[in-house]
Subunit: 366 residues, 2 copies
DNA sequence: CTGAAAGCGCTTACAG
DNA sequence: CTGAAAGCGCTTACAG
């Protein structure tokens, strides 16, 4: 292996040079300015000169230097995206929408995956990315909002604004009313309200809410929707039926197992904070010999692919993840246009997707 | 919504300027050169000057302009990654390893998600990325190798090499023996051999191989390993037991359904081309009233999270996805160092992960 | 239609 | 230890 021949002694990098505008100009017998004009198609240039230039560029395998260009263009053509976990279905679908729209807008996407929950680390990463002069910096996913967080993110938004760049929040609320940022959220509360109502109308009044970080901007609306639905139904939410932790398969499994071990369930349905947690809940119930939906109904949130692979398939709330990403880029990049100037805060709708994990309580087999 | 106040008339972008080295120099009362030296810590500078400069930089919220720096540095600090589908677990795990290692190496990651299977599109994307002067361009995942493909990728590798950049192939073989590229593969053939042998030793001799693009660099080694194992066992592989298509859940489901509809299965086990296809196969078998593993055994490939959510959980081949990504970046970025110069082609090992989807045929319940 | 020149924001020999 | 100056590769008024 590694039969590659190196042309230089140890640890020394071979000297290479990239083809430059002047190389093309020299070969075509014109000035650098002319080459630039031909390749950018900006000014009119005689047909003959054009073809000479294009041929020379092709022959020399010329590729423009984006760094040099953006130095003079005052716009880098770069958009930076921060996602904590690109392996999480919820995040990578948003990231897909972001990346595709960035490309569609003729920009290039920078990706960074900072440690989750580490505000200092995240801000340090952002500083590194700011060096690249991105036209926008996109933060993806919910957070635990502290006053410190709010202040610093608001400060960041103002810094970027002052540089002509833009802070974009994706699936995360604005830190303050006046933060100069593009914000694209989804209506988590409405989704939670709808799916809780779905359970209620199937006869489930004792519903365990399991998972999600207490106080996170992702979990809060879901719990609010859950509570509101119970209240609208005339039930008082029981604080004992809320078990926070995190939105992972492992947490769903372990917490559900712990709860089952502590006695007979005093609930007939579980509202998991997301599909991942739901898949853990399903595994725990199965391990405990409980059938879903016959013995207990379970719902998730997000409508990610795992909802199809669980047995039974999962009734869940659909979140338009790719659209969140696409919309965020559109709004941010076109924010100076009349149509978008006053539409810098979008809240996308959600809806229930009914599958096989809920059964009407009145029909329960015995 | 959108209460943001803009300060300029319609469609006009507010004029903004970023803090520059000279701004810092002016405020600190030193030359730009000195500011540069302080901030980079390259030369020695008096302690007092240092603190004056640092303070000025802080007060002005100065962030260095990476474009300007890389123009003179002859190294951009950028690494470009091309992944067709960032929502596929196999790819996004490799991408995670890549992104994290890029950061660990002090570089910034550019991400692009070109259309899969479209060679022209992929090459066009690469041209765009080349403009950014990346230190390396990473191509992730298998392809259908045609002579045309080989020639063009080899040409690309030489172009990048001539510019001092590097082509990196991740989970994809080198197009030619002498292509100047960094290649990190995994031993798919060994994994397929092992899991097929696992099935054989459980008494399964009629094994359906289902999924995967015929002739793709991902599928080929898996089929080779499957065949070799059968032959090593003294069985002649039956071409009728290979059903290619693609490696998706949908294909696994539809193809398995089609096969079941056409008569009694003449196989006792299914080797799906990957976990996604396997999850579709499981759903089809369940839909057909067949129990896994009691009636039919099923195995997957890759060891992605879905293997835990299927019922039963999936026996599969573990591929070190994140490590592939990390290794690729390490090898590429350190290729001029003595330790790595002759190690530009790595093949990482795979192993079986045994779960619940295989049952010894001799113990089959009736 | 085309070229010479200035300048984008940095870094780095070259002088002191 | 510090500054003036050149130059990285482009684009774009400014002249012709």
């Amino acid at each position: 292996m590694g039969a590659r021949v190196t042309r230089k002694p140890a640890d020394e990098q071979p000297v290479r040079r990239r083809t430059t505008l002047h190389d093309v100009a020299a070969r075509a017998g014109v000035s650098a300015a002319t080459v630039s004009r031909v390749l950018n198609g900006t000014y009119r240039v005689s047909a003959e000169t054009q073809s000479r230039v294009r041929r020379a560029a092709e022959e020399l395998d010329y590729v423009v230097n984006a760094q040099a260009r953006s130095l003079v263009a005052s716009s880098s053509g770069l958009v930076a995206v921060l996602v904590t976990d690109i392996t999480a279905p919820f995040y990578n679908r948003i990231a897909k929408g972001l990346a595709e729209q960035v490309t569609a807008e003729g920009r290039v996407c920078i990706l960074s995956t900072p440690q989750s929950g580490d505000l200092d680390g995240e801000l340090a990463t952002i500083t590194t990315l700011r060096q690249q002069s991105p036209e926008a910096i996109v933060l993806v996913g919910g957070v635990h909002e502290s006053p410190d967080y709010r202040k610093r993110i608001d400060g960041l938004a103002h810094s970027l604004d002052a540089e002509g760049s833009r802070l974009v929040l994706c699936g995360r609320p604005s830190p303050t009313k006046d933060t100069p940022a593009t914000v694209v959220e989804y209506d988590g509360e409405a989704g939670a309200f709808a799916i809780t109502s779905h359970l209620l109308s199937a006869g489930h009044e004792r519903i365990l809410f399991l998972g999600g970080g207490a106080g996170s901007t992702t979990t809060n609306p879901r719990v609010r929707g859950y509570r509101r639905a119970l209240e609208a139904y005339g039930t008082t939410p029981d604080p004992a039926l809320i078990a926070h932790g995190s939105s992972t398969r492992v947490f769903g499994y372990e917490e559900m197992t712990r709860i089952l071990a502590s006695g007979t369930p005093d609930f007939t349905a579980v509202f998991a904070s997301d599909d991942l947690a739901a898949s853990g809940v399903l595994a725990a119930l199965r391990g405990h010999g409980l059938r879903v939906p016959d013995d207990i109904s379970v719902v998730g949130f997000d409508d990610t692919p795992v909802a199809l692979d669980t047995v039974p398939s999962l009734t869940t709330v659909h979140v338009p993840m790719e659209e969140i990403g696409r919309t965020a880029i559109q709004l941010a990049l076109h924010r100076h246009e009349a149509d978008f100037r006053n539409a810098q805060h979008a809240v996308l709708g959600t809806h229930i997707t009914v599958r096989d994990s809920v059964r009407p309580l009145v029909h329960k087999r015995t």
